[in-house]
């Protein structure tokens, strides 16, 4: 468990000393330092063109946080962002939903049946190690430049984190609980519903968080490479016409999208695992 804690340590909270709080400033120090660095970085970025004289060529590629913020504000104010955002979000949502719909049952199945596990193991291991983006040209060939190649690349990207984490969560289910439930006449379906899924929930949530990251990656790259509309397309066009602020605005929107989804997942987990005496295993995955 030790590694888990060390890795999961998000931000300064879990760092040594963060909880000591002998004096008020000491407990505030981590967050102040952290926020300070981010503020400083933004400030330096903002002031860089004033402090250094950029060559005319460099100036074309340079933008500042305020300009990015203004661009973002404009895009929302004029409403021009909604159409591409809707296109990207649709692909993201469909692909992720399909990955959950396929990954959960498959993970449970493979976790329950050693034979199926042995049969599928080579494929799961190989595909999990491979960057699934490699299939993008193939999907483009099969499904064209439309929505479905995007959905599919999101699907294969998000499937494996969900599948493997569900599998591992199921494998770690308490054998005694399973036997108890079985003694009371439960079928495989009841075991899955009553023991497996609740037990695997922290794992599934960790997998979902990874999957969200993968899904965003899939949408972005699929739109860069072969698509006609969407946020990614907007960004590529902006980059080739030197509208660097729009590129960064796109990065911000994608980051916000994945952040929003991640917090949604966390919220759902909190609701679902309210019965748990303590969060047994927060799982990992930045």
């Amino acid at each position: 468990m030790r590694e888990t804690d060390a890795i999961v340590a998000d931000g300064a909270v879990a760092l040594e000393g963060g909880t000591r709080a002998a004096r008020p400033w000491e407990s505030l120090e981590p967050s102040l330092l952290g926020a300070g660095t981010i503020a400083l970085a933004l400030l330096v970025w903002e002031l860089a063109p004033h402090l250094l004289t950029l060559s005319p060529g460099m100036e074309l590629f340079f933008t500042t946080p305020t300009r990015i913020a203004a661009t973002l504000w404009n895009m929302f104010a004029t409403g021009e962002i909604w159409q591409p955002l809707r296109v990207s979000a649709t692909a993201f949502a469909l692909g992720l939903a399909m990955a959950i719909a396929a990954g959960l049952p498959l993970g449970i199945l493979l976790g329950r049946s050693p034979t199926l596990d042995a049969l599928f193991d080579p494929f799961v291991t190989a595909l999990n190690a491979t960057p699934r983006l490699v299939f993008l040209p193939l999907f483009l060939l099969w499904f064209g430049l439309g929505l479905w190649s995007k959905v599919l690349i999101v699907f294969v990207g998000a499937l494996f984190p969900i599948l493997i984490n569900t599998y591992e969560g199921v494998r770690n289910a308490d054998k005694v609980l399973i036997n108890v439930v079985r003694s009371f006449g439960a079928r495989e379906w009841d075991i899955a519903r009553l023991v497996m899924v609740p037990n695997a929930l922290p794992y599934i949530v960790a997998g979902l968080r990874l999957a969200i990251g993968r899904a965003v990656l899939g949408v972005v790259v699929a739109e860069f490479f072969g698509s006609q509309e969407g946020l990614g397309v907007m960004m590529v066009r902006a980059a080739s016409s030197y509208h660097v602020d729009i590129v960064f605005a796109g990065v911000v929107v994608f980051a916000a999208l994945s952040l929003a989804m991640t917090s949604l997942v966390k919220m759902i987990e909190k609701r679902l695992s309210g019965w748990r005496p303590q969060h047994a295993n927060e799982g990992g995955g930045r």
């Binding site: 034979t115 040209p137 860069f224």
Partner: protein, 291 residues
């Protein structure tokens, strides 16, 4: 499931952290309890796995005998094998791989050097960690791959642009894992070495490095995957050579046999790297097993 060699009953953490970078912990409860059983029973998992792969390719091949499929859109294993032989014989494959390997190497080595150095500093100086951790988390959580068009516009499609993208994608696992590794060094062990009269050198060689290294290798496993994504994205997006470009081009040419051959090569490389590092973790740091 994660690796053919990983035994039954691997403990919880491993998979929950599929990607998050904890050193792999393989099971304590090995399946070697089956000594007395027959060969088939002992190697059941391996046999079944091999069987399923063989069956998969056989069915794929046989499908063409039953259904008249258009080879423009789908290919079969025998054609893929021929395509692969052709790619190897003409040297195209070696050339594309060599082209992709150069930026991969630059970017990845830079990520190791910068990431480990920064991570060790962050693990060592608590204040530095306070200061940098949120910023790094923001970078790690945001889809940096979205900066690809900018990188390409700024640095071109040559080695520099690709290497930068690979570096950006793969540096963060090293930072976070090296920091976690340093923080996990047992202070008690340090005191023991000191009390027994060990020198600074002993301290580093016997305590600190062995404690940090597994974390860094685990980081490398994740970093490799992300670096491969960087190669593919950079070459899909704008390149005129390299393995990623080859896949995209064969797709455009409807040369599915060669495209699949290249995809299989990428899969092979990814599996060799990932499983190789997993194996290295298990053999080089056997004391971690079951921790």
């Amino acid at each position: 499931m994660l690796g053919p060699a990983s035994s039954e009953g691997s403990p919880s953490i491993r998979a929950a952290l599929v990607e998050s970078g904890a050193p792999a912990c393989t099971g304590t409860a090995t399946d070697d309890g089956a000594r007395g059983q027959s060969f088939a029973a002992r190697h059941r998992k391996l046999l079944l796995g091999g069987l399923s792969v063989a069956l998969f390719f056989a069915i794929w091949e046989a499908l063409f005998l039953v259904v008249p499929l258009n080879t423009l859109f789908i290919t079969k294993p025998s054609l893929i094998a021929l395509g692969l032989v052709d790619l190897i014989a003409t040297g195209d494959l070696a050339r594309d791989l060599a082209v992709s390997a150069v930026p991969f190497l630059y970017g990845f080595v830079a990520a190791v050097l910068v990431g480990v150095a920064l991570g060790v500093l962050m693990g060592w100086r608590v204040r530095l960690a306070y200061a940098l951790d949120p910023l790094m988390t923001v970078f790690y959580a945001s889809p940096l791959v979205a900066l690809a068009p900018l990188v390409v516009v700024l640095f071109g499609v040559g080695v520099a642009g690709k290497a930068l993208l690979i570096f950006l994608l793969s540096v963060f696992p090293f930072i976070f894992n090296a920091a976690a590794g340093v923080r996990a060094v047992d202070p008690l062990l340090i005191n023991v070495v000191r009390s027994l009269g060990g020198s600074e050198k002993d301290l580093y060689l016997k305590v600190i490095v062995p404690s940090v290294l597994p974390y860094i290798i685990a980081g490398a496993r994740i970093g490799i995957g992300r670096a491969l994504i960087g190669v593919l994205v950079a070459e899909f997006f704008a390149a005129s050579e390299g393995i990623g470009y080859a896949i995209a081009r064969f797709g455009d040419l409807f040369a599915l046999d060669r495209m699949f051959a290249c995809i299989l090569i990428i899969m092979l490389i990814a599996v060799v790297f990932t499983e190789g590092l997993r194996w290295a973790e298990r053999t080089a740091f056997p004391w971690r097993i079951g921790q």
